[in-house]
Amino acid sequence: MDLIFDWFRVLYQETGINLPFLYDEYDRNRMVDGFLTTIRLSLVCLFFSVIIGVIGAWLQGSGFKWTRRIVNGYIQLFRNTPPLVQLYFFYFAIGTLLPRVENDWGGQSPILGSFAWAAISLSFFAGAFNVEIFRSGIEAVPRSTVEAAEALGFSKLQIYRDITLPLAFRVVLPALNNNLVNLVKTTTLAYAIAVPEMLYEANQIWSDNVNVTEMMIFLLLAYFVLVGVLVGAMNRWERAMKIPGYG
């Protein structure tokens, strides 16, 4: 392993192609941490945005006019403003209004750090799209199916959980996957509030080493592979979950 790393140091000395995250231990650790943070942030946001979508779609079917209106307001607000500004607004504006806690270095720090705010903000952003996606799926479930379930004595929650949602989920999977792939790409925005994800770490490295070109190409390839793997997995899943004869 060290042999390979050393080879890249030689590569730099010989050709000027500088890939310090391969031969410099400090930079390598940063890059690996960045990659893991991107993955972690993506997973957390994927999870919560789907939860928000499911709950939001359920609330949208509620009988209360105001519940529907609030959900709608949320969707329109988050869909029609830039996610970067949302992130800033959450982190700098709302973050400072929250109560503070004593931290381990004797100061007062906000309850939520930059990672948490990035996760919250991006989940809400992607969640706004997911609500609409799930709702379109729920509408695709025929009334008669729900009525049949009612006749069998299912409760409202049971119908949503056991009948409507599983059917709707399969219908909306392509749209949902598309949105989730977008979400993974959007995690790069967390860079702006100094969440140490891949882009942030790459930026630190090119600031220190003045090797923008190499880092840029590496980043493009890294995301191409990361998103490519995700798209491939999602497509397989779509095929496996497909409802025969539909669509």
Binding site: N72, A93, A192, F224
Partner: protein
Amino acid sequence: MNCKTDLPVMLPVSKPEPEPFCGLRAWHILPLALLAIFGPSLAFAQSDEGVLSPLAVLMNWAPLLLKGFIFNLVISVSAMALGTVVGAMLGLGQISLIPAVRGGSWFVTQFFRNAPWLVLLFFAMFLLPFEIDLFGLKIPFPDWLKAILGLSLPVMANVSEIVRGAVNSLPSGQWEAAESLAYTRLQTLWLIILPQCVKRMLPPWMNLYSILTMATVLASIVGVSEVMTLTGQALASEGGRPELLAPFYGFVLLLFFVYCYPIARFTVRLEKKFAVIG
């Protein structure tokens, strides 16, 4: 879009009908949003005497921020125009009969669709030269032009997919009928297929524009003097007073909402209008 059978297995997916925003008409939103943003600032206003209230400070900077926002719109329109033209060609390349063109177009489309917008923007920013020497004529490449190019890359890839999707969504009978009438492939595409596609492409295209407009703030991260950059600099000039952050970023949110929300409503209306019955 309702099925007429009694026992459908599954209904076709429909776009949800948008309710008016909290039951309000579009113009209601402006005063409400203003209140939401400036309300808290008004509370602050009473506390200090020597220092300007956050609202007054924001009013001071608002003209400059508005100028920055107009610059965002210029970037978005230019990037959209550029991306659409190149993307349309790429999309047609994806349905070409020549395998090499098809494969190449597919790869370029996928590559730029999979890369995050921000990374592409960084790419354009740092790797494009400051000027191009073309036959002795020096063409300058200022920052904003690079931002436009950087943002038009993902637009291009998405437009390419929209074109491909729209063409593929037409029943193959259209192609076969045209062929039997002795149209050439180019004629079929130009006279029969594409005119029908325009309707299908318009709503997703407008969605894309909306997304692009919201992505223009990314240019701030690479140093273009658009609204977010100016907001940051204004905040720095005011000495980083924390109570200014909410009104300033809120103001930027408001600017985008006022611009993008009507576009979103209009898109939904178009979708409904163009929806094919059955």
